[in-house]
């Protein structure tokens, strides 16, 4: 139903645009074939010289929330170091020539700069806190681009490869939280969100998910919190009265921390799902408050035992440079890995188009076990084969993998099944 | 019917009565003085006449029309004009622009759409009228200068000119001699007399310089502690004992 509605809206939009306005053509820009120069092989592509393949990225280095988005560059650099130490690819070194700062939402301009000024073959990493407006020039010029797909603009474009499973679907029905509630035996869910669009929509998604898979009922839902709010006394009071035993938020870490403190104050015993909580610094600084809470990841956690081969490499090459190993660095690493895979599959006569096409034929790409198998024939859409999560529980200020079996860190369920299956599969 | 008639104007500021039943009239073409010691309520009364303050009781009539509740700018359009004790000019504007803007404000001829189409340049007619006023006040040589460059005496003349461009029936002068030396005061008085003679404008003069008032006004009212203590022909009032005690006595 939802898909059909979106399709109808999209068609209407297209019709509307066709009527009176220039359609969003792919032909603009066009001047990006200046670079390259004469190369020994016959590759004539922007950003490809006879000894290097130039890559550039954009991340919210400076941002209001002070998140370590710049770490994504470290991940890419570490991966390129690994590739280059083995002689590079097709006689060329991979080089991250440009690390641009999107300065809170300026990423369209920065992407334009990457394409026109920095002479890059591909774009990696991308990690933007606000809207990924840079998607537009990337799509217009059909540049392979890799990054952390936490914004809506990643959806649908064949040349954008996100490191999270599939396209982001904020507000879609998902099996993830109903599964967790079921595994933990939780019965009443509390949902808290900001009044801004994506947060509120995320809360609606949680509600819809529990409506579709009634492993528990939503006992309290608020979408009326504002940024900077630090007091949850009324909300917690109401959740306590409603008998809520599991709380999920669509908010930042300041909110989850203050919420945890308020729950302790009012003696409310409930488990939190921490949406942005995979941050060792945050957890160890506040271990009393996040004790027993859960985090879900779409890549193999640093705590995986035994570590998958990709994680071993990640640790080795990150440590070599003394980079901080965190979530964003991992997304950078995975982005670089996808680019490298695409190049390898495209063959020595690679072009941007060949890289994109080659990746889009993959059906079970795992980045050496770092992610659950990706089916890129489908992942650009908002529905895919299955939804996989690696689960962690906070114990004494540390993350401990749960529900995993050795060498299979992910818990997978079919994506949007009619009913929640009795058993999940480990991958 | 008087040109201006203030009837029993009373104004209080948080319990203090600044004006108590003050009445005053100005006839067409007449020059009336208003004097009083500091704090007597002259400025308060002036502001009540102009609409900058709303009196608690009493009314102000202009040409027989009750204007007590009119905002300042509407009174101006009826034919009120004033000068300020502390010079209030429009910084950054030339002398000519001061006169031009006053002319337009009076007639209300400014139109936004004319601005947009760049049709707001001064017309021949407007230029003629501003030239006439510049000549009358002897300001031709500084017409294109910004007002910041003027001396205090000439700045006051610009104020007078700006007031005259609104073709007022009544000109209210608030301590025009303040800040001027004796020489400047004399030349200002001369100019004002010339203006009055040429245009027949009625003048209400608030002053502390008794000589200025004596030489300029035919009738005089005296305020003391918010009360009107005397009114009548200038010479009689200045001879009055109460006035000498309250006001002139101070100066001896």
């Amino acid at each position: 139903m939802r898909v059909r509605l979106i399709a109808v809206l999209a068609v209407l939009t297209l019709v509307a645009m066709a009527c009176s306005n220039a359609s969003d053509t792919k032909k603009s820009g066009s001047t990006s074939t200046t670079g390259g120069g004469a190369s020994s092989s016959t590759v004539d592509q922007p950003g490809v010289t006879k000894d290097t393949i130039r890559v550039g990225g954009v991340a919210s280095k400076t941002n209001l929330l002070n998140g370590p988005y710049a770490s994504s560059f470290d991940g890419v650099n570490a991966y390129f170091d690994m590739v280059n130490s083995q002689g590079g690819i097709y006689g060329r070194k991979l080089q991250l020539v440009s690390e641009r700062d999107d300065q809170m939402g300026q990423n369209q301009q920065q992407v334009e700069a990457l394409l026109a000024q920095d002479n890059v073959f591909a774009v990696a990493p991308i990690a933007t806190i606000l809207a990924f407006s840079g998607a537009k020039p990337l799509v217009d010029q059909n540049v392979p681009a890799f990054g952390w797909n936490i914004n809506d603009e990643w959806t649908g474009a064949k040349n954008l490869f996100g490191s999270n499973a599939g396209a982001l679907c904020n507000g879609c029905v998902s099996t993830t939280l109903p599964f967790l509630a079921k595994r933990l035996g939780k019965k009443k869910i509390g949902v808290l969100a900001y009044n801004v669009s994506n947060s509120a929509q995320c809360a609606d998604g949680v509600k819809k998910s529990f409506d579709a898979y009634p492993t528990a009922t939503v006992g309290f839902l608020s979408k009326s919190l504002s940024f900077g709010v630090t007091d949850f006394s009324v909300e917690v009071g109401k959740m306590k009265d409603a008998g809520v035993d599991f709380v999920t938020t669509c908010m930042d870490t300041t909110a989850t921390l203050n919420l945890a403190k308020e729950m302790r104050k009012q003696g409310m015993k409930a488990t939190q799902y921490l949406p942005n909580g995979y941050d060792a610094g945050l957890i160890s600084a506040n271990k009393d408050f996040f004790q027993g809470d859960y985090v879900g990841l779409q890549f193999a956690p640093f705590q995986s035992q035994p570590p998958p081969p990709g994680l071993v490499q990640f640790n080795k090459w990150m440590d070599k440079k003394g980079y901080t190993k965190n979530e964003t660095a991992m997304h950078g690493w995975i982005s670089a890995a996808q680019l490298y895979t695409g190049l390898k599959l495209a063959g020595p006569q690679f072009t941007r188009q060949k890289v994109i096409d080659a990746l889009n034929k993959l059906t079970d790409y795992t980045a050496d076990g770092l992610i659950s198998p990706r089916n890129w024939t489908k992942e650009h859409n908002i529905t895919h084969d299955q939804a996989c999560t690696a689960w962690l529980k906070v114990e004494n200020g540390k993350f401990v993998p749960v529900f995993a079996v050795p060498n299979k860190p992910f818990v997978c369920l079919p994506d949007q099944p009619k009913t929640l299956p009795a058993k999940a599969t480990n991958v | 019917m008087s040109l201006l008639e203030a009837r029993d104007v009373t104004k209080r500021f948080s319990g203090i009565t600044a004006l108590d039943d003050v009445s005053l009239t100005v006839e067409d073409g007449e020059a009336v003085g208003l004097i009083g010691p500091n704090g007597a309520g002259k400025t308060t009364f002036f502001n009540c006449l102009l609409g900058l303050l709303k009196p608690e009781a009493g009314e102000v009539l202009f040409d027989g029309k009750d204007i007590t509740r009119y905002p300042v700018y509407r009174r101006a359009r009826l034919g009120f004009a004033r000068t300020f004790q502390r010079i209030e000019l429009f910084t950054g504007m030339t002398v000519r622009d001061h006169l031009l803007v006053a002319e337009r404000a009076r007639l209300g001829t400014g139109r936004f759409w004319k601005d947009v189409l760049n049709l707001s340049k001064p017309t021949v007619d407007e230029n003629e009228r501003t030239d006439r006023t510049l000549t009358l006040l002897g300001l031709e040589d500084v017409a294109e200068s910004p007002v910041e460059a003027l001396s205090l005496g000439r700045a006051r003349l610009v104020e007078v000119g700006r007031a005259l461009m609104t073709e007022p029936k009544l000109l209210l002068l608030d301590e025009p001699s303040s800040g001027l030396d004796a020489h400047e005061t004399e030349s200002l008085a001369e100019t004002l007399r010339a203006v009055q003679a040429e245009r027949g404008t009625a003048v209400l003069l608030v002053e502390h310089d008794v000589e200025f008032v004596r030489s300029f006004s035919t009738r005089l009212s005296v305020l003391d502690f918010g009360h009107l203590i005397a009114a009548g022909p200038t010479a009689d009032v200045l001879a009055d004992d109460a006035v000498r005690r309250a006001y002139l006595g101070e100066r001896v």
């Binding site: 645009m17 969003d24 002070n66 700069a113 394409l115 009044n195 608020s222 900077g228 | 101006a76 950054g92």
Partner: protein, 669 residues
């Protein structure tokens, strides 16, 4: 009833947070006449230093607290007073507000660079145990952080009230705001008491910073800014002057928030829209209806008339010859630039410079409202948003021609501007600016999240128009289109400034009383200015969404409204070239800094902020001041040249020399 009591009691600790900020705002306003929008930045600095010494360097709580609140913060206050605000005594509160805005933009960036990347976790407060719980009436629990705020707020309020009531320095600080010169005549050292005032208010901001920091999971300036704008309502409740009232106002605000949280159904639409925007709605209503704020004229120094008036525009003080030569140079330069951009620049520079044109259009709206109207509006970005979203929705959802959509957006923005102006114009000075801020925040909180306005999470696409044979999806054509729009809007602004409306506004800014005394209706003139300015901003917003291809709420965040004002006043608020320079600076400077000089592009904001701090000294803009100097230089050279020529031709008389306008003319006798 029991529930009601419960929410009221729960509101008190929340209210104390607001109260702490509101009391600081009132304190600063009372002792320095500055409405301190930089409060958040000052508090952030204190929190950052506290984090550095306490967490990074492991100082115990008490030395760290004393160091931050009694050493670093007063030192900052002292530096700000000596470096900036001392020169602002006696200037209008608007000029002071702009300086504070400049500081609010620059300071956090400087701190961020000092703090370095990475998150500042684990700040513990000054209470011996942040997480100790204290029970009251059996049912209500406060933790250490809240206890610290509660106690500090009460102590601070009592101390401040005592200071102002019973000590000489307290009285002097107030007197200095009212009239520094009169106070000096009375034998008070105004410099000393102004320094004391700034040190005191900065210490208060420092206290707030240290007390509030433990509430954030990781330190960031955003939390402080949000809190600041929420607490303004409490300060307005106190009429910016009464400290106990600010405490009361803060607590009432906290209680109101808890009542809304308690009684509105939490998932409902009204709760979603109303609750987060409540402080701004309250602020807006207070500004309009709270007695004592209506029609309030700010304190002006009766002796301030002794100050020299602001200089006239540089262009007014040059000869016709020089004017002509600069115009010719300007035309040649622009033509050359357009040629280079269209035929030599790469796609990035083309897009960047198109951005320059678009932002120049938006900034021209500030030329109108600030340069001509003399008002500081903090919601120009909101008008741009109205234009942008209208363009997008009309083009995409309704299917209108996008050009029609853009014009409709401009008209709608102008209408909203006029409607906003009607109630707001009864306010003067900073109250008007605060009302525009409240409006911007209400718009962002209530309307932007609405799907058919801001588009929800899906940004609305905006197509480019086709005009005759020109398809503007070609970026070069679009550049030319933007250039034409900019030229048209510039001409509009120049014509209006030269015309009657411009003269009326000049007159009103020069002296509102005198302007009324010649029959100018101030409300009407200002409504026209507001509407024109909003319309231009709306047009610019439409253009921006067309350029980006989407109407992106991120391009219209309310903080950008601060930045816009700061950028424009730091270049030149009164001229069209000023707006264009500001557009260029806003778009190009960050690129020059990051791509050419290799430093963080945030330095651009620091430079803009520092430029705006100069506003009071150079109300015509820092660039304009530089231009005046260089023009004066050229004029001197030109005069010297002319004089030499005159000397070589001795038969000509030298009486053509007009007196230099900067010299007072001799009194004509």
């Amino acid at each position: 009833m029991q529930e009601l009591i419960r929410y009221v009691i729960l509101g008190i600790p929340v209210g104390c947070v607001f109260a702490l900020v509101a009391v600081s705002l009132v304190l600063t306003y009372k002792t320095s006449g500055v409405f301190n929008l930089a409060f958040g930045a000052q508090a952030f600095l204190a929190a950052a230093v506290y984090y550095d010494v306490h967490v990074r360097h492991g100082w115990p709580i008490i030395p760290a607290f004393v160091f931050v609140v009694f050493v670093i913060s007063p030192l900052l206050g002292f530096v700000l007073d000596r470096g900036v605000f001392r020169y602002l005594r006696g200037v209008s509160p608007i000029a002071k507000l702009v300086s504070a805005l400049g500081l609010a933009v620059a300071l956090p960036q400087i701190i961020q660079i000092w703090l370095g990347p990475g998150q500042a976790f684990g700040i513990t407060g000054i209470w011996w145990d942040d997480n100790a719980l204290y029970r009251f009436f059996g049912d209500y629990t406060l933790d250490g952080r809240q206890m610290a705020i509660l106690v500090s707020t009460v102590v601070a309020v009592l101390a401040l009230v005592a200071l102002f009531r019973w000590t000489a320095i307290g009285l002097q600080m107030r007197a200095v705001v009212e009239s520094p010169r009169l106070t000096e005549l009375a034998g008070v050292n105004a410099d000393r008491s102004s320094s004391a005032a700034w040190m005191l208010s900065s210490a208060m901001a420092g206290l707030a910073g240290v007390l509030l920091a433990p509430f954030s999971a990781s330190l960031n300036v955003g939390d402080f800014t949000t809190l600041l704008v929420s607490a303004i309502a409490a300060a307005a409740f106190a009429r910016l002057t009464n400290i106990p009232m600010a405490l009361l106002g803060g607590i009432l605000l906290g209680i109101a928030q808890q009542l809304l949280a308690g009684y509105l159904p939490p998932a409902s639409l009204i709760a979603k829209d109303l609750k987060p925007s409540m402080p701004f709605v309250v602020l807006f209503l207070l500004l309009l209806f709270w007695p004592g704020l209506r029609n309030r004229r700010e304190v002006t120094d009766p002796l301030s008339g002794a100050d020299p008036p602001p200089p006239s525009l540089a262009s007014a003080s040059r000869s016709a010859m020089l004017t002509r030569s600069t115009h010719i140079f300007g035309v040649v330069f622009v033509a050359f630039m357009v040629y280079v951009i269209l035929f030599r620049a790469d796609a990035f520079w083309l897009s960047l410079l198109t951005g320059t044109l678009v932002y120049s259009v938006i900034f021209l709206s500030i030329t109108v409202i600030t340069g001509m109207g003399g008002q500081i509006s903090l919601c120009q970005v909101t008008f741009a948003a109205i234009g942008g979203f209208t363009t997008a929705q009309l083009a995409t959802a309704v299917g209108l021609n996008v050009l029609v959509g853009m014009l409709a957006g401009a008209v709608l923005a102008a209408a909203v501007g006029a409607l906003l102006a009607i109630p707001v114009l009864r306010l003067a000075g900073i109250y008007l600016s605060l009302a525009t801020l409240a409006f911007a925040l209400m718009f962002e909180n209530v309307l932007v999240p609405v799907g058919w306005i801001g588009g929800g999470i899906k940004r609305v696409n905006v197509p480019r128009p086709i005009i005759g044979p020109f398809d503007l999806s070609n970026n070069k054509s679009f550049f030319v289109f933007c250039l034409i729009v900019l030229v048209l809007v510039s001409m509009l602004v120049i014509f209006v400034r030269r015309g009657t409306t411009g003269h009326y506004l000049d007159a009103l800014r020069g002296s509102e009383t005198a302007a009324q005394s010649i029959g100018i209706n101030p409300a009407k003139a200002k409504i026209v200015a507001f509407a024109l300015s909003a319309g231009i901003a709306g047009l610019g917003g439409g253009l921006l969404s067309m350029k980006n291809g989407i109407a992106n709420p991120d391009d219209f965040r309310f903080e950008l409204g601060f930045v816009f004002v700061v950028v424009v006043v730091s270049t030149a608020a009164r001229t069209v070239e000023g707006a264009i320079n500001a557009g260029a600076a806003f778009t190009i400077l960050p690129v020059i800094l990051s791509d050419w000089l290799g430093v963080s592009s945030t330095w651009a904001f620091i430079l803009f902020g520092l430029g705006a701090i100069q506003y009071a000294r150079h109300p015509e803009g820092t660039l304009e001041a530089g231009k005046r100097q260089s023009l004066a230089f050229f004029q001197r050279q030109y005069d010297r040249l002319a004089a030499r020529r005159a000397r070589s031709a001795p038969d000509q008389s030298g009486d053509g020399q007009s007196p230099s306008p900067s010299q007072p003319l001799a009194v004509k006798s």
